[in-house]
Symmetry: C2
Subunit: 226 residues, 2 copies
Amino acid sequence: MAAGDNGGKTRRVPTRERILEATLVLFNNRGPGRVTTAEIARTVGINEGNLYYYFKTKEALLEALFKTLEEDASAFMVESSSNTTADPGIYSDFMRRWFSIIWVHRYIFRDLPGIIATAPSLREPTRALSMGMRLVVEGMLQQMTAANLIDVPVDDAPQLLANVWIVSTYWAVYLSLQEGVDDLAPEHLDWGLKQVASLFKPYLSELGKGELQIMLDRSFSSEKVP
Amino acid sequence: MAAGDNGGKTRRVPTRERILEATLVLFNNRGPGRVTTAEIARTVGINEGNLYYYFKTKEALLEALFKTLEEDASAFMVESSSNTTADPGIYSDFMRRWFSIIWVHRYIFRDLPGIIATAPSLREPTRALSMGMRLVVEGMLQQMTAANLIDVPVDDAPQLLANVWIVSTYWAVYLSLQEGVDDLAPEHLDWGLKQVASLFKPYLSELGKGELQIMLDRSFSSEKVP
DNA sequence: GTCTATAGCCTGATAGAC
DNA sequence: GTCTATCAGGCTATAGAC
Protein backbone atom coordinates (compact mmCIF):
# COMPACT_ATOMS: atom_id res chain seq x y z
CA MET A 1 0.00 0.00 0.00
CA ALA A 2 1.62 3.24 -1.14
CA ALA A 3 2.10 6.21 1.14
CA GLY A 4 -0.82 8.62 0.85
CA ASP A 5 -3.05 5.76 -0.13
CA ASN A 6 -5.59 5.23 2.56
CA GLY A 7 -6.97 2.02 1.19
CA GLY A 8 -10.52 3.33 1.28
CA LYS A 9 -10.44 3.26 5.05
CA THR A 10 -10.13 6.91 6.07
CA ARG A 11 -11.55 9.07 3.29
CA ARG A 12 -9.77 12.33 3.88
CA VAL A 13 -12.16 15.25 3.67
CA PRO A 14 -10.71 17.99 1.46
CA THR A 15 -9.71 21.12 3.34
CA ARG A 16 -12.09 23.26 1.33
CA GLU A 17 -15.01 21.19 2.48
CA ARG A 18 -13.84 21.10 6.05
CA ILE A 19 -13.70 24.88 5.99
CA LEU A 20 -17.26 25.08 4.71
CA GLU A 21 -18.52 22.62 7.29
CA ALA A 22 -16.85 24.31 10.22
CA THR A 23 -17.95 27.74 9.06
CA LEU A 24 -21.53 26.58 8.77
CA VAL A 25 -21.49 25.42 12.39
CA LEU A 26 -19.92 28.63 13.63
CA PHE A 27 -22.28 30.82 11.62
CA ASN A 28 -25.32 28.92 12.83
CA ASN A 29 -24.25 29.40 16.42
CA ARG A 30 -23.42 33.07 16.40
CA GLY A 31 -24.13 34.54 12.99
CA PRO A 32 -21.53 35.56 10.39
CA GLY A 33 -21.04 38.94 11.99
CA ARG A 34 -19.72 37.48 15.20
CA VAL A 35 -17.39 34.90 13.71
CA THR A 36 -13.89 35.95 12.67
CA THR A 37 -11.75 34.45 9.96
CA ALA A 38 -9.14 33.70 12.60
CA GLU A 39 -11.63 31.64 14.53
CA ILE A 40 -12.68 29.69 11.46
CA ALA A 41 -9.07 28.81 10.72
CA ARG A 42 -8.48 27.81 14.32
CA THR A 43 -11.57 25.60 14.36
CA VAL A 44 -10.62 23.83 11.14
CA GLY A 45 -7.12 23.42 12.48
CA ILE A 46 -5.42 25.29 9.67
CA ASN A 47 -3.54 28.52 9.36
CA GLU A 48 -5.33 31.75 8.62
CA GLY A 49 -3.20 32.15 5.51
CA ASN A 50 -4.37 28.80 4.31
CA LEU A 51 -7.95 29.88 4.71
CA TYR A 52 -7.09 32.85 2.55
CA TYR A 53 -5.74 30.42 -0.05
CA TYR A 54 -9.20 28.93 -0.44
CA PHE A 55 -11.38 31.96 0.20
CA LYS A 56 -9.88 35.36 -0.46
CA THR A 57 -12.59 37.21 1.41
CA LYS A 58 -15.27 36.58 3.94
CA GLU A 59 -17.80 37.39 1.27
CA ALA A 60 -16.42 34.59 -0.91
CA LEU A 61 -16.98 32.27 2.02
CA LEU A 62 -20.57 33.42 2.39
CA GLU A 63 -21.17 32.95 -1.32
CA ALA A 64 -19.79 29.43 -1.30
CA LEU A 65 -21.94 28.54 1.67
CA PHE A 66 -25.02 30.01 0.05
CA LYS A 67 -24.38 27.89 -3.01
CA THR A 68 -24.81 24.78 -0.89
CA LEU A 69 -28.19 26.08 0.25
CA GLU A 70 -29.14 26.73 -3.34
CA GLU A 71 -28.20 23.19 -4.27
CA ASP A 72 -30.23 21.71 -1.45
CA ALA A 73 -33.17 23.94 -2.25
CA SER A 74 -33.21 23.45 -5.99
CA ALA A 75 -32.90 19.68 -5.71
CA PHE A 76 -35.80 19.84 -3.33
CA MET A 77 -37.87 22.08 -5.58
CA VAL A 78 -37.36 19.90 -8.62
CA GLU A 79 -38.49 16.80 -6.77
CA SER A 80 -41.43 18.59 -5.23
CA SER A 81 -42.79 19.99 -8.46
CA SER A 82 -42.27 16.80 -10.44
CA ASN A 83 -44.35 14.82 -8.02
CA THR A 84 -47.59 13.43 -9.39
CA THR A 85 -48.51 10.62 -7.02
CA ALA A 86 -51.85 10.72 -5.32
CA ASP A 87 -50.43 9.64 -1.98
CA PRO A 88 -51.27 12.37 0.53
CA GLY A 89 -48.18 11.42 2.55
CA ILE A 90 -46.02 13.43 0.20
CA TYR A 91 -47.23 16.69 1.67
CA SER A 92 -45.99 15.68 5.06
CA ASP A 93 -42.65 14.65 3.61
CA PHE A 94 -42.49 17.90 1.71
CA MET A 95 -42.77 20.05 4.79
CA ARG A 96 -40.42 17.95 6.78
CA ARG A 97 -37.72 18.13 4.13
CA TRP A 98 -38.02 21.84 3.63
CA PHE A 99 -37.77 22.29 7.35
CA SER A 100 -34.58 20.27 7.48
CA ILE A 101 -33.02 22.47 4.83
CA ILE A 102 -33.96 25.63 6.70
CA TRP A 103 -32.52 24.17 9.85
CA VAL A 104 -29.18 23.27 8.31
CA HIS A 105 -28.73 26.72 6.81
CA ARG A 106 -30.43 28.67 9.54
CA TYR A 107 -27.63 31.27 9.93
CA ILE A 108 -28.90 32.79 6.69
CA PHE A 109 -32.24 33.74 8.14
CA ARG A 110 -31.02 35.11 11.40
CA ASP A 111 -30.06 38.49 10.04
CA LEU A 112 -30.70 38.48 6.33
CA PRO A 113 -30.36 42.24 5.96
CA GLY A 114 -26.97 42.05 7.65
CA ILE A 115 -25.76 39.25 5.41
CA ILE A 116 -26.82 41.10 2.29
CA ALA A 117 -25.02 44.17 3.60
CA THR A 118 -21.70 42.33 3.82
CA ALA A 119 -22.31 40.27 0.69
CA PRO A 120 -24.41 42.33 -1.71
CA SER A 121 -23.95 39.70 -4.39
CA LEU A 122 -26.38 37.54 -2.42
CA ARG A 123 -29.26 39.98 -2.73
CA GLU A 124 -30.76 38.59 -5.92
CA PRO A 125 -30.08 34.92 -5.16
CA THR A 126 -31.89 35.20 -1.82
CA ARG A 127 -34.86 36.84 -3.50
CA ALA A 128 -34.92 34.16 -6.15
CA LEU A 129 -34.83 31.47 -3.51
CA SER A 130 -37.71 32.99 -1.64
CA MET A 131 -39.77 33.38 -4.79
CA GLY A 132 -39.02 29.84 -5.86
CA MET A 133 -40.13 28.42 -2.56
CA ARG A 134 -43.31 30.41 -2.71
CA LEU A 135 -44.11 28.84 -6.04
CA VAL A 136 -43.44 25.38 -4.71
CA VAL A 137 -45.68 25.88 -1.70
CA GLU A 138 -48.30 27.32 -4.02
CA GLY A 139 -48.13 24.24 -6.22
CA MET A 140 -48.37 22.03 -3.18
CA LEU A 141 -51.47 23.87 -2.07
CA GLN A 142 -53.09 23.34 -5.45
CA GLN A 143 -52.34 19.64 -5.35
CA MET A 144 -53.68 19.38 -1.83
CA THR A 145 -56.79 21.20 -2.93
CA ALA A 146 -57.26 18.81 -5.82
CA ALA A 147 -56.84 15.90 -3.40
CA ASN A 148 -59.56 17.32 -1.15
CA LEU A 149 -57.13 17.70 1.72
CA ILE A 150 -57.55 21.43 2.05
CA ASP A 151 -59.68 24.32 0.93
CA VAL A 152 -58.17 27.78 1.09
CA PRO A 153 -60.29 30.67 -0.20
CA VAL A 154 -58.48 32.45 -3.01
CA ASP A 155 -58.54 35.68 -1.04
CA ASP A 156 -56.67 34.09 1.86
CA ALA A 157 -54.00 32.30 -0.12
CA PRO A 158 -51.45 35.11 -0.61
CA GLN A 159 -51.33 35.94 3.09
CA LEU A 160 -51.17 32.29 4.03
CA LEU A 161 -48.22 31.72 1.70
CA ALA A 162 -46.35 34.68 3.10
CA ASN A 163 -47.01 33.58 6.65
CA VAL A 164 -45.75 30.10 5.87
CA TRP A 165 -42.49 31.60 4.74
CA ILE A 166 -42.19 33.93 7.70
CA VAL A 167 -42.94 31.31 10.33
CA SER A 168 -40.87 28.59 8.71
CA THR A 169 -37.83 30.83 8.63
CA TYR A 170 -38.16 32.65 11.94
CA TRP A 171 -39.51 30.14 14.40
CA ALA A 172 -35.94 29.38 15.48
CA VAL A 173 -35.30 32.95 16.50
CA TYR A 174 -38.58 33.07 18.37
CA LEU A 175 -37.68 29.94 20.29
CA SER A 176 -34.35 31.30 21.39
CA LEU A 177 -36.10 34.33 22.83
CA GLN A 178 -39.31 33.01 24.28
CA GLU A 179 -38.02 29.72 25.53
CA GLY A 180 -34.55 30.92 26.36
CA VAL A 181 -33.14 28.24 24.11
CA ASP A 182 -29.56 29.13 23.26
CA ASP A 183 -28.35 26.07 21.47
CA LEU A 184 -31.26 25.10 19.31
CA ALA A 185 -31.35 21.34 19.18
CA PRO A 186 -32.86 19.18 16.45
CA GLU A 187 -35.83 18.30 18.64
CA HIS A 188 -36.96 21.89 18.33
CA LEU A 189 -37.75 21.16 14.72
CA ASP A 190 -40.90 19.51 15.99
CA TRP A 191 -41.99 22.70 17.54
CA GLY A 192 -41.40 24.70 14.37
CA LEU A 193 -43.14 22.14 12.24
CA LYS A 194 -46.17 22.35 14.47
CA GLN A 195 -46.20 26.12 14.13
CA VAL A 196 -46.25 25.99 10.35
CA ALA A 197 -48.79 23.20 10.35
CA SER A 198 -51.07 25.30 12.51
CA LEU A 199 -51.23 27.88 9.72
CA PHE A 200 -52.88 25.33 7.45
CA LYS A 201 -54.96 23.65 10.11
CA PRO A 202 -58.09 25.83 9.94
CA TYR A 203 -58.39 25.14 6.23
CA LEU A 204 -57.93 21.36 6.33
CA SER A 205 -60.65 18.86 5.50
CA GLU A 206 -61.23 15.85 7.75
CA LEU A 207 -58.96 13.86 5.48
CA GLY A 208 -56.35 16.58 5.68
CA LYS A 209 -56.49 16.67 9.46
CA GLY A 210 -55.76 12.97 9.62
CA GLU A 211 -52.79 13.46 7.34
CA LEU A 212 -51.54 16.28 9.52
CA GLN A 213 -51.62 14.05 12.55
CA ILE A 214 -49.55 11.45 10.74
CA MET A 215 -46.93 14.04 9.95
CA LEU A 216 -46.69 15.34 13.49
CA ASP A 217 -46.43 11.83 14.86
CA ARG A 218 -43.27 11.19 12.91
CA SER A 219 -41.15 13.15 15.26
CA PHE A 220 -37.91 14.72 14.21
CA SER A 221 -36.56 14.12 17.67
CA SER A 222 -36.35 10.40 17.11
CA GLU A 223 -34.29 10.85 13.98
CA LYS A 224 -30.75 11.79 13.21
CA VAL A 225 -30.75 15.25 11.74
CA PRO A 226 -27.39 16.23 10.19
CA MET B 1 -32.02 88.69 25.80
CA ALA B 2 -29.14 87.00 27.54
CA ALA B 3 -26.75 84.75 25.68
CA GLY B 4 -27.84 81.13 25.93
CA ASP B 5 -31.41 82.23 26.46
CA ASN B 6 -33.60 81.09 23.62
CA GLY B 7 -36.63 83.06 24.61
CA GLY B 8 -38.88 80.02 24.50
CA LYS B 9 -38.66 80.08 20.74
CA THR B 10 -36.41 77.14 20.01
CA ARG B 11 -36.89 74.57 22.77
CA ARG B 12 -33.44 73.03 22.84
CA VAL B 13 -33.59 69.24 22.89
CA PRO B 14 -31.14 67.86 25.46
CA THR B 15 -28.09 66.21 23.93
CA ARG B 16 -28.91 62.92 25.58
CA GLU B 17 -32.27 62.75 23.87
CA ARG B 18 -30.87 63.81 20.55
CA ILE B 19 -28.38 60.97 20.79
CA LEU B 20 -31.14 58.47 21.47
CA GLU B 21 -33.27 59.73 18.60
CA ALA B 22 -30.46 59.69 16.08
CA THR B 23 -29.29 56.28 17.21
CA LEU B 24 -32.77 54.86 16.83
CA VAL B 25 -32.92 56.02 13.24
CA LEU B 26 -29.48 54.64 12.42
CA PHE B 27 -30.16 51.33 14.12
CA ASN B 28 -33.46 50.90 12.34
CA ASN B 29 -31.81 51.46 9.00
CA ARG B 30 -28.82 49.20 9.30
CA GLY B 31 -28.93 47.37 12.62
CA PRO B 32 -26.77 48.10 15.67
CA GLY B 33 -23.95 45.92 14.37
CA ARG B 34 -23.39 48.11 11.35
CA VAL B 35 -23.55 51.47 13.09
CA THR B 36 -20.42 52.85 14.76
CA THR B 37 -20.23 55.18 17.70
CA ALA B 38 -18.32 57.58 15.48
CA GLU B 39 -21.20 57.72 13.05
CA ILE B 40 -23.69 58.35 15.81
CA ALA B 41 -21.62 61.24 17.09
CA ARG B 42 -21.26 62.65 13.59
CA THR B 43 -25.00 62.40 12.97
CA VAL B 44 -25.90 64.15 16.21
CA GLY B 45 -23.29 66.76 15.46
CA ILE B 46 -21.25 66.15 18.59
CA ASN B 47 -17.83 64.73 19.25
CA GLU B 48 -17.26 61.07 19.83
CA GLY B 49 -15.81 61.82 23.24
CA ASN B 50 -18.96 63.67 24.11
CA LEU B 51 -21.00 60.66 23.21
CA TYR B 52 -18.83 58.75 25.61
CA TYR B 53 -19.77 61.29 28.27
CA TYR B 54 -23.43 60.29 28.02
CA PHE B 55 -23.08 56.60 27.23
CA LYS B 56 -19.91 54.90 28.37
CA THR B 57 -20.39 51.91 26.11
CA LYS B 58 -22.37 50.89 23.10
CA GLU B 59 -24.19 48.47 25.37
CA ALA B 60 -25.32 51.34 27.59
CA LEU B 61 -26.76 52.95 24.49
CA LEU B 62 -28.64 49.79 23.62
CA GLU B 63 -29.97 49.52 27.15
CA ALA B 64 -31.21 53.09 27.18
CA LEU B 65 -32.93 52.59 23.86
CA PHE B 66 -34.50 49.38 25.04
CA LYS B 67 -35.88 51.19 28.04
CA THR B 68 -37.88 53.42 25.73
CA LEU B 69 -39.37 50.33 24.13
CA GLU B 70 -40.23 48.98 27.55
CA GLU B 71 -41.96 52.22 28.42
CA ASP B 72 -43.99 52.20 25.23
CA ALA B 73 -44.85 48.56 25.67
CA SER B 74 -45.79 48.68 29.33
CA ALA B 75 -47.96 51.76 28.89
CA PHE B 76 -49.66 49.90 26.09
CA MET B 77 -50.08 46.72 28.12
CA VAL B 78 -51.59 48.52 31.06
CA GLU B 79 -54.16 50.25 28.89
CA SER B 80 -54.95 47.08 27.01
CA SER B 81 -55.53 44.94 30.05
CA SER B 82 -57.55 47.56 31.89
CA ASN B 83 -59.99 47.88 29.05
CA THR B 84 -63.52 46.73 29.80
CA THR B 85 -65.65 48.39 27.16
CA ALA B 86 -67.80 46.22 24.96
CA ASP B 87 -66.91 48.14 21.82
CA PRO B 88 -65.39 45.67 19.40
CA GLY B 89 -63.41 48.46 17.79
CA ILE B 90 -60.88 48.30 20.58
CA TYR B 91 -59.40 45.11 19.16
CA SER B 92 -58.62 46.87 15.95
CA ASP B 93 -57.05 49.73 17.82
CA PHE B 94 -55.11 47.28 19.91
CA MET B 95 -53.41 45.66 16.97
CA ARG B 96 -52.72 48.93 15.26
CA ARG B 97 -51.03 50.37 18.31
CA TRP B 98 -48.91 47.35 18.97
CA PHE B 99 -47.84 47.41 15.37
CA SER B 100 -46.78 51.01 15.65
CA ILE B 101 -44.61 50.21 18.63
CA ILE B 102 -42.97 47.32 16.82
CA TRP B 103 -42.35 49.57 13.88
CA VAL B 104 -40.71 52.33 15.88
CA HIS B 105 -38.36 49.91 17.60
CA ARG B 106 -37.92 47.52 14.74
CA TYR B 107 -34.11 47.39 14.93
CA ILE B 108 -34.53 45.21 18.02
CA PHE B 109 -36.19 42.41 16.13
CA ARG B 110 -33.88 42.36 13.17
CA ASP B 111 -31.20 40.31 14.85
CA LEU B 112 -32.30 39.66 18.39
CA PRO B 113 -29.68 37.00 19.05
CA GLY B 114 -27.01 39.42 17.92
CA ILE B 115 -28.27 42.20 20.15
CA ILE B 116 -28.36 39.94 23.17
CA ALA B 117 -24.84 38.83 22.35
CA THR B 118 -23.52 42.39 22.54
CA ALA B 119 -25.80 43.38 25.42
CA PRO B 120 -26.37 40.30 27.59
CA SER B 121 -28.16 42.43 30.14
CA LEU B 122 -31.05 42.62 27.68
CA ARG B 123 -31.63 38.90 27.68
CA GLU B 124 -34.14 38.79 30.52
CA PRO B 125 -35.92 42.05 29.66
CA THR B 126 -36.54 40.87 26.11
CA ARG B 127 -37.94 37.61 27.37
CA ALA B 128 -40.14 39.42 29.83
CA LEU B 129 -41.41 41.69 27.10
CA SER B 130 -42.25 38.78 24.87
CA MET B 131 -44.02 36.96 27.68
CA GLY B 132 -45.94 40.07 28.65
CA MET B 133 -47.14 40.62 25.14
CA ARG B 134 -48.22 37.04 24.89
CA LEU B 135 -50.37 37.51 27.96
CA VAL B 136 -51.92 40.63 26.55
CA VAL B 137 -52.78 38.98 23.25
CA GLU B 138 -54.16 36.05 25.21
CA GLY B 139 -56.37 38.37 27.22
CA MET B 140 -57.53 40.05 24.09
CA LEU B 141 -58.44 36.71 22.60
CA GLN B 142 -60.52 35.86 25.66
CA GLN B 143 -62.36 39.15 25.46
CA MET B 144 -62.98 38.69 21.77
CA THR B 145 -64.26 35.23 22.46
CA ALA B 146 -66.63 36.55 25.12
CA ALA B 147 -67.85 39.15 22.64
CA ASN B 148 -68.58 36.45 20.07
CA LEU B 149 -66.11 37.90 17.66
CA ILE B 150 -63.92 34.86 17.48
CA ASP B 151 -63.80 31.20 18.42
CA VAL B 152 -60.39 29.58 18.70
CA PRO B 153 -60.29 25.94 19.81
CA VAL B 154 -58.20 25.61 22.97
CA ASP B 155 -55.86 23.23 21.20
CA ASP B 156 -55.05 25.81 18.54
CA ALA B 157 -54.54 28.81 20.80
CA PRO B 158 -50.89 28.30 21.82
CA GLN B 159 -49.69 27.99 18.25
CA LEU B 160 -51.81 30.88 17.13
CA LEU B 161 -50.33 33.11 19.85
CA ALA B 162 -46.79 32.17 18.91
CA ASN B 163 -47.47 32.78 15.24
CA VAL B 164 -48.90 36.20 16.04
CA TRP B 165 -45.67 37.12 17.73
CA ILE B 166 -43.48 35.71 14.98
CA VAL B 167 -45.34 37.36 12.12
CA SER B 168 -45.82 40.68 13.88
CA THR B 169 -42.10 40.96 14.53
CA TYR B 170 -40.66 39.55 11.31
CA TRP B 171 -42.94 40.75 8.55
CA ALA B 172 -40.61 43.70 8.00
CA VAL B 173 -37.64 41.47 7.30
CA TYR B 174 -39.72 39.38 4.97
CA LEU B 175 -40.78 42.44 3.03
CA SER B 176 -37.24 43.64 2.55
CA LEU B 177 -36.35 40.29 1.04
CA GLN B 178 -39.37 39.29 -0.97
CA GLU B 179 -40.33 42.69 -2.23
CA GLY B 180 -36.84 44.08 -2.38
CA VAL B 181 -37.88 46.90 -0.10
CA ASP B 182 -34.77 48.49 1.35
CA ASP B 183 -36.13 51.48 3.15
CA LEU B 184 -39.25 50.25 4.82
CA ALA B 185 -41.82 53.00 4.68
CA PRO B 186 -44.80 53.49 6.98
CA GLU B 187 -47.21 52.36 4.30
CA HIS B 188 -45.77 48.89 4.63
CA LEU B 189 -47.41 48.70 8.01
CA ASP B 190 -50.63 48.00 6.16
CA TRP B 191 -49.11 44.94 4.66
CA GLY B 192 -47.87 43.62 7.98
CA LEU B 193 -51.16 44.30 9.68
CA LYS B 194 -52.93 42.30 7.01
CA GLN B 195 -50.56 39.41 7.57
CA VAL B 196 -51.26 39.25 11.28
CA ALA B 197 -54.96 39.70 10.75
CA SER B 198 -54.96 36.76 8.39
CA LEU B 199 -53.84 34.54 11.27
CA PHE B 200 -57.07 35.27 13.10
CA LYS B 201 -59.29 35.32 10.07
CA PRO B 202 -60.22 31.63 9.86
CA TYR B 203 -61.48 31.75 13.44
CA LEU B 204 -63.56 34.89 13.20
CA SER B 205 -67.33 34.94 13.45
CA GLU B 206 -69.37 36.95 10.96
CA LEU B 207 -69.36 39.83 13.43
CA GLY B 208 -65.61 39.48 13.78
CA LYS B 209 -65.08 39.53 10.02
CA GLY B 210 -66.92 42.80 9.76
CA GLU B 211 -64.79 44.25 12.49
CA LEU B 212 -61.65 43.08 10.73
CA GLN B 213 -62.70 44.87 7.59
CA ILE B 214 -63.17 48.09 9.51
CA MET B 215 -59.67 47.82 10.88
CA LEU B 216 -58.04 47.20 7.52
CA ASP B 217 -59.93 50.07 5.96
CA ARG B 218 -58.34 52.54 8.33
CA SER B 219 -55.11 52.59 6.42
CA PHE B 220 -51.84 53.40 8.09
CA SER B 221 -50.63 54.99 4.89
CA SER B 222 -52.96 57.90 5.25
CA GLU B 223 -51.75 58.68 8.74
CA LYS B 224 -48.67 60.21 10.22
CA VAL B 225 -46.62 57.51 11.87
CA PRO B 226 -43.92 58.87 14.18
C1' DG C 1 -0.88 22.41 -5.30
C1' DT C 2 -1.12 22.98 -0.30
C1' DC C 3 0.08 25.04 3.81
C1' DT C 4 2.62 28.16 7.69
C1' DA C 5 4.35 32.25 9.70
C1' DT C 6 4.08 36.81 10.01
C1' DA C 7 3.16 41.38 9.01
C1' DG C 8 0.42 45.55 7.43
C1' DC C 9 -3.58 48.03 7.24
C1' DC C 10 -7.74 49.67 8.86
C1' DT C 11 -11.68 50.27 11.74
C1' DG C 12 -13.77 51.15 16.00
C1' DA C 13 -14.30 51.32 21.05
C1' DT C 14 -12.38 53.42 25.04
C1' DA C 15 -10.06 56.75 27.92
C1' DG C 16 -7.95 60.70 29.82
C1' DA C 17 -6.31 65.35 29.04
C1' DC C 18 -7.95 69.86 28.06
C1' DG D 1 -18.38 69.62 26.39
C1' DT D 2 -14.45 68.78 23.14
C1' DC D 3 -10.24 66.84 21.20
C1' DT D 4 -6.70 63.59 20.68
C1' DA D 5 -4.24 59.32 22.09
C1' DT D 6 -4.34 54.58 22.78
C1' DC D 7 -5.42 49.99 22.26
C1' DA D 8 -7.57 45.83 20.59
C1' DG D 9 -9.02 43.12 17.02
C1' DG D 10 -10.34 41.91 12.42
C1' DC D 11 -9.42 41.30 7.48
C1' DT D 12 -6.19 40.96 3.90
C1' DA D 13 -1.76 40.05 1.95
C1' DT D 14 2.93 38.09 0.98
C1' DA D 15 6.96 35.24 1.27
C1' DG D 16 8.40 31.04 1.40
C1' DA D 17 8.39 26.00 3.26
C1' DC D 18 6.64 21.47 2.15
